[in-house]
């Protein structure tokens, strides 16, 4: 069983909701990303989604676009991102790491080379935003062969037959996109999320986590109550945008930057 699956099973057994922050690798620089990852763990992250910088993030809103642009200004690559994971793994064997990004950097590296490097670095799961299951055969196989989970999105626009098909391909967790739009948009319609999650629940035992539009303790608690966990991206990346571009972040800035994760942890733990 993969680290991700073990971790999710244990959380379910303990009645603990998964807390999954998203940050862009190399934003504002690689050294800061490493410090941020440790701080996120300290504030209660179970899994970290690490964004692979890409020049054309067509599914992301302005906040994450800016995070990506900061990383690209430092010329951060997929290879650097994998190196960041490898270094993190040397310090931490518990927290799962999921790489999230767009296909082109992986395609250019080559699926087998990427899958080898990801396994070697200690990556637990991969989510490629612009690669639906119908187009994923080669990469999917390369990852599964190496026990790396393949995570897919389900959106409010996804029909029932398609959702079942996606679930067949998915492992680790299923990522439910809470709204029609891009990352960073405002989440308003809690009722339709609840209805969708309960429909999905009928088809799968996979952990279902909710992302997009979760920005603080209350929204995290509301979404965690419906699901197995929550992803917080733009709200964190927005704080990261306020950090100084220095190689050594001081403890107070790091803790303040990641406070949104700490408060989400408290809020979702209070649900019990």
């Amino acid at each position: 069983m993969s680290r991700l699956q073990e971790l999710a099973n244990k959380a379910r057994g303990d009645g603990r909701k998964l807390l999954i922050p998203y940050l862009v690798a190399g934003d504002p620089n690689l050294a800061s990303s490493a410090q941020l990852m440790d701080e996120l763990v300290a504030q209660g992250a179970d899994i970290i989604e690490l964004g692979i910088p890409f020049s054309d993030p067509a599914s992301d809103g302005p906040v994450i676009q800016l995070g990506v642009e900061r990383a690209l200004a430092k010329k951060v690559t997929l290879a650097n991102t994998l190196q960041l994971v490898r270094q993190f793994r040397a310090r931490n064997q518990e927290t799962a790491i999921v790489l999230m990004g767009y296909l082109n950097p992986i395609e250019i590296m080559g699926y087998e080379v990427f899958a080898d490097a990801a396994q070697d670095a200690g990556v637990d799961g991969v989510l490629v935003v612009d690669m639906p299951p119908t187009e994923s055969a080669g990469l999917h196989e390369a990852l599964r062969k190496r026990d790396i989970d393949t995570i897919y999105l389900v959106a409010p626009t996804t029909g029932e037959a398609r959702a079942r098909d996606i679930i067949q391909h998915c492992s680790g967790y299923l990522y439910y996109v809470s709204l029609k739009g891009v990352t960073g948009a405002a989440l308003t319609d809690h009722d339709s999320v609840a209805a969708s999650i309960s429909r999905l629940r009928a088809y799968t035992d996979l952990p279902i986590v909710i992302g997009f539009g979760i920005k603080d303790g209350p929204s995290a608690a509301a979404m965690a109550a419906l699901s197995d966990g929550v992803i917080i991206g733009s709200a964190l990346v927005n704080e990261i945008g306020k950090l100084a571009d220095t190689e050594q972040q001081d403890a107070a800035s790091l803790s303040q930057c990641c406070a949104v994760i700490g408060s989400a942890r408290k809020a979702i733990d209070n649900l019990k």
């Binding site: 959106a155 626009t157 029909g159 029609k180 891009v182």
Partner: protein, 406 residues
């Protein structure tokens, strides 16, 4: 199956998933999958319905002014001293370019799908104008995404779109050109997917766009076929078209793919020269990757980032190209070449002075290569250049390059 074997068969494509060989497909975020699948289903149905094509053809005749002439460029032919050069006059279409062939067709799809809002991306502004035009005519709300850089260099078209009632949204992200405008249009679509139809302006994007845009542009090649037989009693020996995303080129080429005796040349933007890296010629100098919904040749660095492009013409300044061109390149059926900014400007002036036709800078790339090619061909041979658009929109750019302020 090797590419040469493939070529002995009747050419078809794409397959039901939108693949042209290894290229094409559907690579978009999950939120948009249902929308592109719905569009594919609607198009699949309507494209089998003769009434749909009748309506389309009525529009082309009465609103666009088709058929466009096939014009013998006599003085240009004499100057080149080789094959007879004919111009397919897409510049005479309503709105001044081939782009309207596509927007008319897609506007009909939007109408059948009951969408009330249209979005489009644009580089040179020609597709934006063509989209704003059909939106005005159908009374639909229209948002056009345009890179902030392009807004600066295509001011007349920006104003035309506004006159037509469209909202022109300046895109400030990334390189602030066409590719970023397309990213922003995809974001808008994901957000407003219920009421919005996205009119993509070229044969790129996720399936079914490369197929349906091609089908709407094929009127160009079908007309040329009939006009050639009438004018010189046989098929042309060579076809030449500029390639940005590749819609005017595929529109000319596609009806001739099975006519193996017709040589075809797609002319990419060579910018400052392929060797400088400052160009927009993914087929000539790029490699396969995935961008904007499909797998195709791209300008991408070794880390997989999309590179900035350069071309004197905003309409060719795009790092990708339609997936069918990628496949036709691998099959060896179409030759892809490049013309530099400098050659293009020369051709712009040459055509203007010799034939009294001011071509778009995009189309001037095709003219530049065609004059080179014609001089290597025999006088009894015939060459057709797609004059994809007129150059009024570019006169400020040309003046600026030549140090003239208007």
């Amino acid at each position: 199956m090797s590419s040469t074997e493939k070529l002995t068969e009747h050419y078809t494509g794409p397959d039901s998933k939108g693949h042209f060989g290894p290229y094409g497909g559907i690579f978009v975020g999950e939120t948009l999958i249902t929308a592109v699948e719905e569009l594919a289903a609607v198009y699949n149905k309507l494209s089998r319905d003769p009434a749909f094509w009748q309506e389309y053809e009525y529009e082309l005749k009465h609103y666009v002014g088709r058929p466009s002439p096939l014009y013998f460029a006599e003085r240009l032919t004499q100057a080149c001293g080789g094959a007879r050069i004919y111009l397919k006059r897409e510049d005479l279409n309503h709105t001044g370019a081939h782009k309207v062939n596509n927007t008319i067709g897609q506007a009909l799809l939007a109408k059948y799908m009951g969408k009330t809002r249209i979005i489009a991306e644009t580089g040179a502004g020609q597709h934006g104008v063509a989209s704003a035009t059909v939106a005005a005519r159908l009374g639909l709300e229209c948002y056009v995404y345009m890179g902030a850089e392009d807004i600066k260099r295509q001011a007349p078209n920006v104003y035309r779109m506004k006159l037509l009632g469209a909202h022109v949204v300046a895109v400030e992200s990334g390189s602030r050109t066409l590719k970023d405008a397309m990213n922003e249009a995809l974001r808008d679509w994901a957000t407003n997917v219920d009421n919005t139809y996205y009119i993509i302006g070229t044969v790129a994007g996720p399936h079914p766009y490369p197929q349906l845009v091609r089908d709407f542009q094929c009127v160009i090649g079908r007309e040329v076929k009939a006009q050639a037989l009438e004018e010189f009693g046989k098929l042309p020996d060579a076809l030449v078209a500029c390639v940005g995303g590749g819609s005017n080129a595929i529109g000319l080429f596609h009806p001739f793919i099975d006519d193996r005796e017709v040589a075809m040349y797609g002319v990419e933007a060579g910018g400052h020269g392929l060797e400088t890296g400052e160009h927009a010629a993914p087929l000539s100098a790029g490699k396969p990757g995935v961008l904007h919904g499909n797998r195709t040749y791209l300008m991408t660095d070794e880390g997989g980032q999309i590179q900035d492009t350069h071309s004197v013409s905003a309409g060719l300044d795009y790092p990708g190209v339609g997936p069918e061109h990628a496949w036709l390149k691998d099959l060896g059926r179409v030759h892809y070449v490049a013309a530099t900014d400098e050659e293009t400007l020369q051709a712009f002036h040459q055509l203007t002075r010799m034939e009294g036709i001011i071509p778009a800078l995009e189309s001037s790339h095709a003219v530049a290569y065609a004059t080179r090619l014609a001089s290597t061909m025999k006088p009894e041979q015939n060459l057709v250049v797609n004059l994809s658009g007129r150059g009024d929109k570019d006169i400020e750019t040309v003046a600026r390059i030549e140090g003239i302020s208007l």
